[in-house]
């Protein structure tokens, strides 16, 4: 998945914020695991890594008082604010007399709004859950369940793409998408019949990886399809 658009969007936002608030000297965003997403051009990577190392250590020790939400330092020549925004952290180093309200609006309004906007874009512009054309195999009359069976690999691929919020998060952070599995699919025949039903992974080892969908006989009759026919299958949202 291409991370570029998100990183560029955040990077541009940070640049514009810095222009609007000249009191900001250094700024960068990183994930809870310490992966840097974006940072200003002036701050050396070595310095950022140094700061991250100190922060990760503090975060661990801060569990004594709960989960760390923010960290502030007032020093002789400046202020440092580190805020947790969803699953990320924003660091702002400012001049000592930077307006408290400005810092608050950046950490609590502007950056969260940008992240939310990126998530909102996902369903309309970025979501892509490709339907699959699968070959029908029938599940015998002794099969008691009403679920269809699909290859686990297909279900995993859909899972990665289906939740825009989880996907955007995974894209921005570069971390694994932990969205839960898909429970239902929509099956459409070439005759125009469609149905939404429960889905499970194919349990027959010999049929795995063969682009097949196993459908109970009763459901095949309803859909007016037979073994070997092609159907279009997509996750039911």
């Amino acid at each position: 998945m291409n991370r570029e658009p998100y990183v560029i969007a955040l990077s541009n936002a940070m640049t514009e914020i810095k222009k609007a608030y000249p009191d900001i000297k250094n700024s960068f965003i990183f994930t809870k695991n310490g992966t840097i997403i974006t940072g200003d051009q002036e701050t050396d990577e070595k310095i950022i890594n140094n700061i991250l190392e100190s922060f990760q250590n503090l975060k661990e020790k801060a569990k004594a008082i709960g989960n760390l939400k923010s960290f502030h330092i007032t020093a002789k020549n400046g202020k440092l604010t580190l805020s947790k925004i969803k699953d990320m952290h924003l660091l702002l180093a400012t001049s000592k007399h930077a307006d408290k309200n400005h810092i608050y609006s950046i950490t609590h309004v502007i950056i969260p709004t940008i992240l939310k906007t990126l998530e909102t874009f996902a369903p309309t512009h970025l979501q892509f859950t490709p339907p699959k054309k699968l070959v029908v195999d029938t599940l015998g009359r002794f099969f008691a369940g009403d679920s269809v069976q699909i290859d686990a690999e297909i279900l995993r691929n859909w899972t990665k793409n289906i939740d825009p919020r989880a996907r955007v998060k995974a894209t921005i952070t570069g971390e694994e998408n932990t969205q839960e599995s898909i429970d239902q699919v929509q099956i459409e025949t070439f005759g125009g019949n469609a149905v939404v039903c429960k889905v499970k992974e194919i349990n027959d080892q010999n049929l795995k990886g063969k682009n097949m969908i196993r459908i109970p006989e009763k459901l095949c009759k309803t859909l007016e399809i037979n073994k070997g026919d092609l159907v279009t299958v997509k996750p039911a949202l």
Binding site: E53, I65, L68, H72, N77, G78
Partner: protein
């Protein structure tokens, strides 16, 4: 020699004043306790004594992080450090060559405490 004695007296007086202020502060609503650490001894007063080690480790980590970050970003000497969780916060500062960490509930105004101790 006289000057040295006078300096020692000043420091001792200063420490006594801090101790007095801390005694007042610790009884205020929302205060969980404090750790005051000098080069030779430390005073600890926490409502929950089972947390002494964890809080002492956190206090030390806060000072280390403050020092490392301000040094990396050339921000000069640290005045205050505030660590916030959902319900609790910690105010750390150097005072009279002592490291003071005050633990409190989030609703407590730490700026007011800082002004009082400064």
């Amino acid at each position: 020699m006289l000057v040295n004695n006078s300096k020692t007296d000043d420091t001792e007086n200063g420490n006594e004043k801090i101790q007095e202020k801390l005694q007042d502060i610790k009884d205020q609503e929302g205060i969980i306790g404090y750790i005051l650490r000098g080069s030779k001894k430390a005073s600890i007063d926490l409502k929950d004594p089972t947390k002494i080690i964890d809080y002492a480790v956190l206090s030390s980590a806060a000072f280390d992080a403050g020092h490392n970050m301000t040094e990396a970003l050339q921000m000069g000497e640290v005045e205050t450090i505030v660590v916030e969780s959902e319900e609790t916060k910690l105010l750390s500062m150097n005072i009279n060559n002592h490291r003071l960490s005050l633990f409190m509930e989030k609703s407590v105004d730490h700026n007011k405490l800082y002004k009082n101790l400064k």
